[in-house]
Structures are given as structure tokens and as C-alpha cells.
């Protein structure tokens, strides 16, 4: 046990938490902004799958990760706008639109991959892992001064560009939601669309902006998966991160900071699972840990919320009694 703790108290372990959390943070931000605008985008999983494929393919054919990243972002945004069209214009239940995108994200990406690359591994599977070399991945960045600090340097420096961006985006999204007029509009549309419309806010436009933002974040998340987390795209590589992000959004109380912390909890759970399997635990027992933590996290969050609501309720009742 003590030995195991020793393995955990290394900079590598904390480094891996940040690395694993990055795509979940992107997806969580996506979930937070659409939730603020009053709806849920459960298609994040599918969006990330398509973005991951587009990123790895374009970076291979264009020979540069920059184009790959841009393609991943564009894929996320365009697909999310199409989702918006179905949801807002054709009045499809947004949940069902999300399910459809997730459905396509699994087999559909494999279809596109096979068709575009003409690759078939065996007869059933294909992936782009053979195409992507280290130089086609998004680069890691060493931070000059911090990397000299003994423990902290190992944790904070040397991360992927997108890992840093994910944390920067937490701050930026928070500022966008609470300090800009766009953020005010998004929140007002989510809270009361009729009131927002009555003061001249175009509800439809704001909803499209919110879903496009979620597509952009999924694009970052997808690009991270295929061009930083792994080298190249493979089937079902997002493996539930888009769904975990939905839980992180709920657990974080719908706020950016809380969402980030929840995402880090899942990153911790997964990093722990990887370490467990490194010391001999069956990987099939270690792999479900993050998913179980998600359910437990949601329950804890709901209990806290319930007890808070109760307290507020009794405080209000007390106040009423005092006034009498």
C-alpha cells in the first residue's frame, strides 16, 4: 500500500492526470455553454469522433498538424451547426439529434476512414495510426522557467499545446459567459427565452452560437484525441469522454471552474485506473473506474444539492416565521 502511494506521489502521475483531463475539459466546456443556453448537446461524443478523424486525416494529407487542427475545429463547428439546423429549424428533439450524431460517429467514421484511406486492416478494422508520425502530432511545449522547478516542473511543463489551451479556455469561457454581452445573452436565452426575445435578443442566433461553440470545443477535444493523446485515429477512441463531460457539467453545477474540477476528478480516476493495471490489477477491472466514479460523482452532487435546497427552504420558512 505504501509502495503504491509512492508510485502515485510522482510528478509523472500528476502529469498524466492533467493530460487525461484535457479532452474532458474541452467537452465539459462545450456542455456548459449549451446548458447555459438552455439545451443539452449529447452529441459531443460523435462530434469528437468526427473531429478526431478529420484532424488526423488532414494532418496526414496536408503534412502539417496546423491544418489537421483547423480541419478538426471546422468539422466540429459545421457538424454542430447542422445539428442546430435539425434541432431549431426542423424541431427535432435535441436529445435525439445528439443520439443520431453519436450513432454516426461510431460506424460512420470507420466508413469514412476506409473510403478515404483505402486502408483495411484485416477485414473489419481500420485506423489511421499507421499514417500519423510524431511530427504530424500537435507539439508538446516545455515552459522555460517552470520546467526547472523540481516537482512542479515535471507536473506542469512539457504538456501538449492543447492541454494548456484547455485550461486557458476554462478561464476564457468563464469570462465570455459572465463579462461579455454575448455571455449575458446566452444566459438570458437559457433562463427565459421569451424575456430575452422581448428585449431584442435573437434567441435563434444565440442558440446557433452556443451549439457552434460546443462544436468548436469538441473539435479541440477530438484533435487532442487523435493528434496528441494517441497518434492517429482508431475506432471508438473517444470511448465515452463526451458522455463523461455531460456528467462533469452537472457535477460542476454548470460553472466553468466546477466543471474543470469535476473533469480533473475523472482524469484522476482514469490515471489511477492506469496505475492500478500497471501494478497488476486486471485492466478490465481498472477500465470501468472512471465510469463508476461518474455515477458516484453525480449522486454525491445530487445529495449536496438536495440538502442545500432543504436548508434554503427551512431558512426561508424561519424567515417567514420571524416576520410574523
Amino acid at each position: 500500500m505504501l509502495n503504491f502511494l509512492k508510485i502515485l506521489a510522482t510528478p509523472e502521475f500528476f502529469f498524466s492526470i492533467l493530460r487525461i483531463s484535457a479532452p474532458i475539459i474541452f467537452a465539459t466546456l462545450a456542455a456548459i455553454v449549451v446548458e447555459k443556453a438552455g439545451f443539452a448537446n449529447i452529441g459531443l461524443e460523435g462530434l469528437m469522433m468526427f473531429s478526431a478523424l478529420a484532424g488526423s486525416l488532414v494532418s496526414y494529407y496536408a503534412g502539417s498538424w496546423v491544418w489537421g487542427l483547423l480541419a478538426a475545429l471546422a468539422t466540429g463547428v459545421v457538424m454542430s451547426l447542422v445539428m442546430g439546423f435539425f434541432a431549431f429549424r426542423l424541431k427535432t428533439d435535441i436529445i435525439l439529434v445528439g443520439i443520431a450524431v453519436n450513432m454516426m460517429g461510431s460506424g460512420g467514421t470507420l466508413f469514412l476512414c476506409k473510403v478515404i484511406t483505402n486502408l483495411t486492416l484485416g477485414n473489419a478494422m481500420a485506423s489511421t495510426t499507421g499514417l500519423i508520425t510524431r511530427s504530424l502530432c500537435i507539439p508538446d511545449i516545455a515552459i522555460p522557467i517552470i520546467n526547472k522547478i523540481p516537482f512542479l516542473g515535471g507536473v506542469l511543463s512539457g504538456h501538449n499545446l492543447l492541454t494548456y489551451l484547455s485550461f486557458i479556455f476554462v478561464a476564457l469561457t468563464s469570462v465570455m459567459l459572465y463579462k461579455t454581452s454575448l455571455g449575458l445573452n446566452i444566459r438570458s436565452v437559457g433562463e427565459n427565452p421569451n424575456a430575452a426575445a422581448s428585449v431584442g435578443v435573437s434567441v435563434l442566433r444565440i442558440k446557433y452560437i452556443a451549439i457552434a461553440f460546443s462544436g468548436l470545443m469538441s473539435g479541440f477535444g477530438g484533435a487532442f484525441m487523435s493528434m496528441a493523446y494517441a497518434q492517429g485515429w482508431s475506432l471508438d477512441m473517444v470511448s465515452g469522454r463526451g458522455f463523461i463531460a455531460l456528467a462533469a457539467q452537472a457535477m460542476g453545477g454548470g460553472e466553468c471552474l466546477g466543471g474543470m474540477l469535476s473533469a480533473l476528478v475523472f482524469g484522476f480516476a482514469q490515471a489511477l485506473g492506469i496505475k492500478f493495471s500497471a501494478v497488476g490489477l486486471d485492466s478490465n477491472l481498472a477500465s470501468p473506474i472512471p465510469y463508476a466514479v461518474t455515477i458516484i460523482g453525480l449522486v454525491v452532487f445530487a445529495l449536496v444539492r438536495a440538502s442545500r435546497a432543504k436548508k434554503r427552504h427551512s431558512a426561508a420558512a424561519l424567515g417567514k416565521g420571524a416576520r410574523k
Binding site: 435539425f86 424541431k91 443520439i99 450513432m103 461510431s106 470511448s239 486486471d282 478490465n284 455515477i295 449522486v299
Partner: protein
Amino acid sequence: MTRKRQLRFTIIRSLVAILIALLVATILIFISASGATFQAKLEATREALKQMLAGPVFRFSKKNGIAFEAKRLADIFAAMIPTVFTGLSVCVMFSANQFNLGAEGGILLGAFVSAMAAIYLPLPAGLHAVVAVLLGGLAVALVMLLPALLKTKLDVSEMVCSLMLNYIIMYIIKFVMNTYLADKTRGSIQSFPFRESAAIPPLVDNPVFSGAKLSWGFAVALIAVVLCGLFMYRSRWGYAIRMIGINQDFAKYSGMKVGAVIVLSQLLGGFLAGAGGGIEMLGRYDTFTWTALPGYGWTGITIAILAGNNPYMVPLAAFFMAYLSKGCDLMATYAKVPAQLISIVQGVIFLFFAAEQFLSGYRQKLVVKSAQEEIALAQARKEGA
């Protein structure tokens, strides 16, 4: 709008949605078709489409021309067995407006539990399969208590919870199989063979039916459709489920026990998915070999959407999806177009079926026409009087 017009609108709308999906498929096939010239590509596309659309019932060969293929049709009916069950399961859960996506993990768990009962429970033939399938269904119903109770007691999203459960179920089954239950004498991960008493026999004992594994499960699936339909449209509980789906607040204020009904709908959904997994497992296989989620749950969601959450329409929708899937498989074999095309076709059809406002202009026209006719009729009556 008259009933006849309503029906006509529904049919036309469905056909247009399917046509759009096929158009998308054609474009994708054309892009992926092999061929140097435009003409050659067109020819390859035609060949692929022929296999996809007619292949499931007809065999094309240069020697014999076009021949009806009973085996492939039987394959399609056999493929409907698990998806009818997941389709019904999703219908019941979605009718209450509960987006429980656990049918996917449910069918895997049901198949696993039934398989274990088929291996380790010594029971007489006949009874054995029934008990095994029931156990599979009950196990999944029990698991579905978790998202259902968390939703009604703590307002935890049943969708996220059920999705996470799918992954947990898959990994735990993999773990248990690898570590304890696998037949180590075999090269791949598989269980010991089922007892013969647990097998579900073919519907008719001839080579076509038994080759396609078209078991009595098909008859059970159709019975389940009727029972589900009766439950949803002719019972108090079914009415409550549908009312809650339409307007939860109204249902609550009119005195329905909303929480209990939501839990009931997901228990029932879980039971159907689990029983479906058991029937599929015992009717088709003789050892347990599933190591990943089989995908029937997602197909079930598509089927429920195509059926408009109406249990009676589930077999039709399941037939359509099975036909399409068989067509895509044949296309992959004979025309070298990846079979995963079905995911995209499925997604497109799904989106257009679920789109409320799709062809709303046409519906508006029909409504106006009906109204005008009514007015004219009333006018004529008045004049006549």
C-alpha cells in the same frame, strides 16, 4: 385533418425520409466506388445499390439470372429477434420521456446471465430456456433500477447514468469471462458450451430455418410486441406512462404516481432488453462469445423512433433495419463498399423521422384543404336546409 389524409401524410413523409437517406447513401457509394472513369464508377455504384436494395431477397448471378433467396429472407427475420426486443424496450422507456440508453448494456447483460444459466443450471429441456431467459430479463430490470431510482429520487440524469452503466457492464463481463468463466482449452475467449436443454429450437426444422438460426425466439418476439402494445394502449399503467411522456406536470396534478410509473417503465424496458439478449444468445449460439457491446441497443433506439414509440410498428421498423443491414453486408461482400455505410444511412433516416417540422409545409396544406372541405360541406348543408 381526416384519418386518411393523416395516414397519407405519414406514409409520404416516411418515404421521403428514406429516399433522402438513400440519396445520401448513393452519393457516398459513388465516392467510394472503385473505377477509373466516371462511367465505370457509375456502373460500380449501380451494382452496389442493386446488392443493397434487392440483394437481401434476390440473388443475382450471370448463370441463373435473378433468383429468390429464401435463406437471406430467413436471415433477416432472424436478425430481427434481438432488435425487436431492444426496440420495444426503448419504446416503453422513451414513451415516458425518459432517455434511458441502457438497452445496449442491457442486451449484453441479459445474454450473459442467460448464458450462465444455460451452462450452470441443471433443468429439464423446455423449462430451462424459459428460466434462463427470465433470469436474464430480471437481472437487467434490476440493474435498470439504478438509473430509474436515481432519476426519481435525486434527479440524476438517467441518460448519463445508463450510458456509464453500459461501459461498466461491458468491462465487468469481460473481466468475469477472462478470469473465471472462460473455457481455457479454447484459443479465443468463450464460455463452456450451453447445456442442450437450454437451446431454443428453430421455428421450423428445415435447413433454411435452422441455417438462418430463425428460432422460436421470433414467435416470442411477436408475442412480446402484442403484449407490449396491449400494455401501452389498453392498460392503466401504459396510459400513465404515455401521459407522463406527453405532459409530466399534468400527469402529476391529475394524481398519477409519476415516480413509480417512471421506475416501472424502466424496469420493463430493462426486462425486455435482457430477455431479448437471452433469447438471441440461446437461439443462435452454443457458447457465450460476446466481448463487446453488440450494437442492438442503438439499433433499438432507431427502431423506436421509426415506429414513433408505437409497439405495434416495431416489427415493421425492425424488418426495415434488418433488411438494410443485410443489404449493406451484401454490398460490402460483392461491391467492396464498407458495410459501415449503414451507420450513416441509419443516422440520416433517424434524423428525418425525428424531425417534427420536416415537410410541415405539406402537412399545413393538407390541414387547410381538410378545413376548406369541411366548410364547403357545412355550407352545402345549410343551403340544402
